[in-house]
């Protein structure tokens, strides 16, 4: 369990001041992701493009066009050299960051892809989609077909998270499934509610599962017990992210009314909440080191928040 009782006093050190607005996307921004060290960020949206930003300076660096439909998720490799994005066109694109070329198009998903992640070494990609499957793809060889297809889900896979040894995926069928590659077993945690987002705590001991009943649940990964529930925000229809702060002290999530909520991890009480966007907050990414946060919204902006 994430031991983080040393949380700051109510909402003091939490980012709530708008530091920058990243404008450029035409239409809704569906996701925003920091890179590993938090220097850059990537956003993707309904305008079928990916954008690379320097959020600290508020500069737009590059736009990557290549998707035929909306881009739902983007992932950056740990060395910042590669991107991967997925979206409504059922394609998983593997990009070269500097040249902006598409290195490979992975095709195999039978419908929209909701989420994609690089593994630690950026050697494999794991994606989950509406076709009820999680697929693993090889970045090193020239294969275009998936290394493995996991199709034990009974509904759309909304979110995928990777650890060094596991694939964790949340699905609308109400399960968070952990595929332990090292031990060769699948752990199914049934939550009874459609899982919208899955996030890991920084100590990787807990999984935060945002559910479509406007509740975020914190699960202990070892035992599968529910440690806490976080309520107050609104999440019933949209795919949106929730995550933990880099200190594992608070839980952050957007809301469908454009607000951002902070909960105390242990108490489950709302520590802070503010109106961040005019519309649904789709993506949230917390800076890996600093107390800084990015939110993306259907209103077409990405905003950076600082304390």
């Amino acid at each position: 369990m994430a031991s983080s009782s040393s949380s700051a006093s109510a909402g003091a050190g939490l980012p709530s001041k708008e530091a920058a607005v990243l404008k450029g996307h035409e239409g809704a921004v569906l996701a925003v992701r920091y890179n590993k060290d938090g220097k850059y960020c990537l956003s993707c949206g309904k305008d079928r493009s990916l954008r690379l930003w320097n959020p600290a300076k508020g500069i737009h660096i590059k736009t990557y066009n290549g998707h035929a439909r909306e881009v739902r998720d983007v992932a950056v490799s740990s060395d910042n050299s590669k991107l991967s994005s997925c979206g409504g066109d059922r394609q998983l694109l593997y990009w070269d960051v500097s040249t902006g070329r598409i290195i490979r198009k992975f095709q195999g998903h039978d419908s929209e892809i909701n989420s994609v992640k690089f593994n630690e070494q950026a050697a494999a990609l794991v994606s989950g989609g509406y076709d009820r499957s999680v697929r693993a793809w090889d970045c090193r060889s020239n294969r275009f077909d998936p290394i493995q297809v996991i199709d034990t889900f009974s509904d759309s896979v909304t979110s995928v998270v990777l650890t060094k040894t596991e694939i964790i995926a949340g699905s609308v069928d109400g399960t968070v499934r952990t595929f332990d590659i090292r031990n060769g077993r699948e752990i199914v945690d049934e939550l009874g509610q459609s899982v919208n987002s899955v996030a890991l705590s920084y100590d990787e001991g807990c999984v935060l599962a945002g559910c479509l009943d406007s509740t975020i649940r914190l699960l202990d990964r070892a035992s599968g017990e529910k440690l806490q529930e976080y309520k107050g925000h609104e999440n019933k229809a949209f795919k949106m992210d929730s995550c933990l702060t880099n200190t594992d002290a608070h839980v952050v999530s957007g809301s469908e009314d454009g607000r951002v909520f902070f909960w105390d991890l242990v108490d489950g009480t709302v520590v802070n909440s503010f109106k961040a966007h005019a519309s649904v907050v789709t993506g949230i990414s917390y800076h890996p080191i600093e107390s800084c946060m990015l939110t993306s919204s259907v209103d077409g902006t990405v905003r950076m928040w600082r304390t």
């Binding site: 050697a123 034990t152 077993r185």
Partner: protein, 1040 residues
């Protein structure tokens, strides 16, 4: 000789032209086409069909296509020489058309598109007309005529006689005459006469109708003349359909003829028309230009003016009106009503026409009646369209009766409770329930108050009070039909739907503890609506496994004794309550009571219901529908059946499924989310590599594809390679077999075997993968103990039968097993359908632990015996019935053992957690023992056991298994053979055995022969394949 040959020889067909003689151009083209495939595209030449080069290096700076290398035609395409158009501005300007730039092949193509008929074959003159038109246009261009526009030229078209007409003329045909024998036309003579008469009549009668048009007259004259000539040429119809130009003046649809079936009206219409237009008529005539017929440009006109009368018919019968040469037929139907009215008036006035326009047709003098329309009735202002009752429905009944005098409750508090409960129940459900309970509880002293005994007054008073209360609450009107909906708050008042909870109650499930348990009363009557056998089944299948902890039940039920009459039952009830208060897994402790399975489960069901009622303090009112035996009251069932039609209609399986569903729902609610489940999962080796992890399944063969059907799974199971991969042998197994071999005397053997029945199935509930090892062993292991196992018995029985050791035989046997498996499955289902049952052996509770110790033996030895017995029995009784029975015995025992054994939590979890696959899983579990048994049977078919199916139900000595166990521990393996031999039993079984052995020997012989054949075949195949591959390789070499 040669000359002779030449003379005799005959030549057919056209000789082949040698290639040299071909047009060199064409040859080149052909060659090019052949080469085109080989030459790179940029080196290929584009040629036309004649083989001429089309693009002359225009892109590579070569010569061009036009002018110099003039495109290909003789003259080529030369550019126009420039001529100044200063002087002749417009006149000389010659328009260029695409045609001018075409090659001959292109021209041919172009012309092919615009097909034209050459004038001599232009039968219909269309092309000629077109040609003329064009010509005229040209001429117009050349010399402008007095009348501007192409009108005249378009109208007047010169037409040549076609070749056919010319030919006919040459043959003596005159225009307008029929081709063919003349007498055909003679048939119309009589008709012609009649028409003539008509004509003259018409002439006399009405001057109006006789037209004065010049053509008409001409036509008539013609006819008269022709008629005089005694020639029927006038009647000869035109052979080609004439093109009648009828200007369309009406508003009918194209081709619609309003007078099609009533030509008389046409005539009338025309008369009217003429009448209207008067003498200055012929408007239509003037306009309707008749195009001359092709075949007889000047064909004689035939009698027009009248059209066709009723008696009139021209030419052939099937000729249409239009074809009759009505040159001036004008169809003008006026849509405006005026003239019609005028006509009508005139006709009415005219005495000649009065009522005789047509024979048998009279015009009605009375105008049509107008339909009477009545105004809608006026609703009085004070009308109220919603009826309101002054008082609730049930109130009259109450008010009729005077309230019974207040009575003191009886001293016995329990009785008091019963009375109160029943009263409230009856008040809610109607007086019929009172009658029913009266009838049913006639003997029950507790219910004496119903019959005027102790507490009767109090009961009456309570009943009245309850009814009063209900009326006041306004609930009376919902009454029986919606007792349920009353309590289930979320259910709408009038929906007869049954929610999950209610259904669960109906099925007698125990609601597991919730945060706030919804108190639901009066569910037992509903529960009893479920059919008795269903309930029993459900009970045994579902709720027997789990009971909920409810300590308060025990307390409340301590002093209540609902089964005073039946002390044994009361005991059992108390025991049940005790068990319930403990909670957890349900342990049936009522064994030995002499109740059948169905009865017991029914009883449990009843107990459950009662316990629940007592818990809710409503024991009595819920008790009423159940009589003492716990069987549903028929009347009540009937009532409930009508109320719960849907549930009644449901089949057993759906009920069961629903029950499972509700069970799961309940469990789901209770066992809060999140739930955790672990499954094996195999990551792809590449995935492991990319994650820099060791593949946990490294070196293991790839996983099997999921079997889709049961038969498929059979096949997979019996596939030796796969079973090898999947299943590891349980470590204790081999010794177990040995142990079993060391068993004591045969008689006791058969006994303890029976005892083991449940035990061995207990083991079967364990995870599946460990089981089929025996098959694998049977098929492939050539370890000695297997060999021993097989040879030993045969030695012991001093039979010189063929040794069963050779592996070929085993493979064959495995085949047979597969067959038997399939057959067994079939027989199982058949048996179930037939409803055959095997009497159950009653198992004393004491022998379980001992039997448990013998698990291994159970697997190894007794199962074999069992199988053996089964097969033997089958053989004896001619197969089917025996087999069915065999299967049944098997399963009933299995079931029982399943319940009696303490299933571990995980196993139970396993049983109930799979959602959809639950049933299949259960099925498989049932199947599994069968399978294994059959499989095991392979190995030990030689072991002979005296068969006596009747002995199954025997009670066996309890101590035996233990004794054997000890013996097994002590006894040394080698001595078993002799011991086996020693215990060879009675003589009658000997005979059977001998017979069986003979059969087996025969079988084995056959098998071996078959196997040999197969082997041979395989060898041949192999050889063939080898040859083939050899050939291939040699061919390859040759190519190289």
């Amino acid at each position: 000789m040669g000359h002779d040959d030449e003379g005799v020889r005959a030549y057919y067909g056209t000789p082949l032209v040698s290639e040299e003689e071909l047009n060199p151009r064409k040859r080149k083209a052909a060659l090019d086409q052949g080469q085109a495939r080989r030459v790179a595209p940029w080196n290929q030449e584009v040629t036309d069909s004649e083989g001429r080069r089309r693009f002359h290096g225009a892109f590579t700076g070569g010569f061009s296509a036009g002018h110099f290398n003039t495109v290909g035609s003789k003259e080529g395409w030369t550019p126009q020489s420039f001529t100044s158009s200063r002087q002749a501005r417009a006149a000389d300007k010659k328009a260029q058309a695409a045609y001018d730039f075409m090659d001959e092949d292109e021209k041919a193509e172009f012309e092919a598109k615009n097909m034209q008929v050459r004038p001599e074959f232009d039968t219909f003159g269309s092309t000629a007309a077109e040609y003329e038109r064009r010509q005229a246009l040209k001429e117009i261009g050349d010399r402008p005529s007095a009348i501007p526009g192409p009108l005249i030229d378009e109208i007047i078209i010169p037409v040549n006689d076609s070749t056919g007409v010319k030919l006919l003329r040459l043959m003596g045909w005159r225009g307008g005459r029929q081709i063919g024998p003349k007498h055909v036309a003679a048939a119309s003579g009589a008709r012609r006469e009649a028409r003539k008469a008509m004509m003259s009549l018409a002439q006399n009668n009405s001057t109006n109708t006789v037209s004065s048009g010049p053509e008409e007259i001409q036509g008539r004259c013609d006819e008269l003349i022709l008629g005089d000539e005694e020639d029927f040429d006038a009647d000869v119809p035109k052979i080609t359909p004439a093109f009648v130009m009828n200007p369309k003046k009406d508003l009918y649809g194209l081709g619609f003829d309003p007078f099609k079936d009533a030509p008389e009206f046409r005539e009338r219409k025309r008369a009217l028309e003429e009448d209207r237009s008067g003498d200055g008529g012929w408007r239509g005539h003037a306009l309707s230009l008749k195009r001359p017929s092709l075949f007889r440009p000047n064909a004689g006109k035939i009698g027009g003016g009248f059209g066709i009368g009723a008696l009139e018919d021209l030419g052939d019968e099937d000729e249409d009106v239009y074809d009759q040469g009505m040159e001036f037929e004008v169809q003008e139907l006026e849509e405006d009503e005026k003239p019609v009215e005028k006509l009508q008036k005139r006709l009415l006035e005219d005495p000649l026409h009065k009522g005789s326009t047509l024979t048998g047709f009279h015009i009605s003098k009375e105008p049509p009646k107008k339909k009477l329309w009545l105004p809608p009735p006026i609703i009085p202002e004070n009308f109220n369209f919603i009826h309101k009752f002054d008082k609730p429905l049930g109130s009259e009944r109450l008010q009729e009766r005077p309230p019974p005098p207040a009575a003191q409750p009886p001293d016995d508090p329990e009785l008091c409770k019963y009375i109160e409960g029943l009263a409230s129940f009856v008040a809610k459900s109607g007086p019929r329930f009172e009658e029913i309970s009266k009838e049913k509880q006639r003997e029950n002293p507790m219910f004496a108050f119903l019959f005027g005994g102790l507490g009767h007054d109090y009961y009456k008073r309570r009943l009245w009070e309850e009814e009063e209360k209900l009326v006041k609450e306004g609930k009376q009107h919902i009454r029986i039909d919606h007792v349920e909906s009353e309590k289930a708050g979320r259910q709408s008042k009038f929906s007869p739907k049954v929610g999950a909870d209610e259904r669960g109650k109906m099925l007698g499930e125990i609601p597991l503890p919730k945060g706030v348990a919804p108190v639901q009363r009066q569910n037992t009557p509903v529960a009893s609506a479920v059919r008795a056998d269903d309930r029993a089944r459900l009970q045994s299948a579902l709720s027997s496994t789990f009971t909920s902890t409810s300590p308060q039940v025990g307390e409340t039920a301590k002093n209540s004794q609902p089964f005073k009459n039946d002390s044994a039952k009361q005991n059992r009830f108390e025991q049940f309550l005790k068990g319930k208060s403990v909670g957890g897994l349900w342990k049936p402790t009522s064994g030995g009571s002499g109740l059948s399975e169905a009865e017991r489960s029914e009883e449990i069901f009843e107990f459950e219901a009662i316990a629940r009622m007592q818990q809710q303090g409503l024991a009595l009112e819920n008790r009423t529908p159940l009589n003492v035996q716990g069987k549903p009251v028929p009347e009540l069932v009937a009532i409930m059946g009508s109320r719960f039609a849907a549930a009644g209609v449901e089949t057993k399986t759906t009920m069961a499924e629903a029950a499972v569903g509700t069970e799961l729902v309940l469990r789901g609610e209770v066992k809060q989310y999140p739930r955790r489940e672990e499954n094996p999962w195999r990551p792809a080796s590449m995935l492991c590599k990319r994650f820099d992890l060791l593949d946990p399944f490294a070196g293991k063969p790839p996983p099997l594809p999921k079997p889709r059907s049961r038969t498929e799974s059979f096949i997979l199971l019996t596939n030796p390679v796969e079973s090898k991969l999947e299943y590891r042998p349980p470590p204790s197994h081999a010794p177990a077999i040995q142990k079993s071999a060391t068993e004591g005397p045969k008689t006791s053997d058969s006994n303890h075997k029976r005892d083991e029945g449940p035990v061995m199935f207990e083991e079967k509930i364990e995870p599946i993968p460990e089981r089929p090892v025996d098959l694998y062993k049977a098929l492939f292991a050539d370890d000695t103990d297997d060999e021993d196992e097989e040879t030993r018995p045969s030695q012991a029985s001093a039979q010189a039968g063929p040794s069963a050791g050779d592996p070929m035989n085993r493979a064959e046997a495995a085949n047979a097993v597969l067959n038997r498996l399939v057959a067994g499955d079939f027989l199982e289902s058949l048996g179930k359908e037939l409803g055959l049952k095997v009497p159950e052996p009653v198992q004393p509770a004491g022998d379980r632990p001992a039997a448990k110790e013998l698990d291994g033996i159970g697997l190894g030895r007794s199962k074999n015996d069992f199988e053996n017995k089964g097969t033997e029995f089958r053989r004896q009784s001619g197969g089917l019935v025996g087999a069915v029975r065999d299967q049944h015995g098997f399963f009933s025992r299995h079931e029982r053992s399943g319940r009696q054994s303490q299933i571990k939590g995980s196993v139970a979890e396993n049983l109930y957690s799979g959602r959809e696959s639950q049933y299949t899983a259960l099925r498989e579990k049932q199947l599994q023992p069968d399978k294994i048994d059959a499989l095991l049977g392979v190995k030990t078919r030689q072991i002979d056991v005296p068969d006596n199916p009747g002995r199954w139900a025997d009670d066996s000595s309890i101590a035996r298994p233990r004794a054997i166990d000890k013996e097994a521990k002590v006894a040394a393996a080698p001595s078993t053979a002799t011991r086996y031999g020693d215990t060879e039993p009675e003589s009658d079984s000997d005979k059977e055995k001998a017979l069986a052995k003979r059969i087996r020997r025969e079988e084995r012989r056959l098998q071996r022969e078959k196997e040999k054949e197969k082997h041979k075949h395989r060898k041949e195949k192999h050889k063939h394949r080898k040859d083939h591959s050899h050939e291939k390789s040699s061919r390859k070499k040759a190519r190289v």
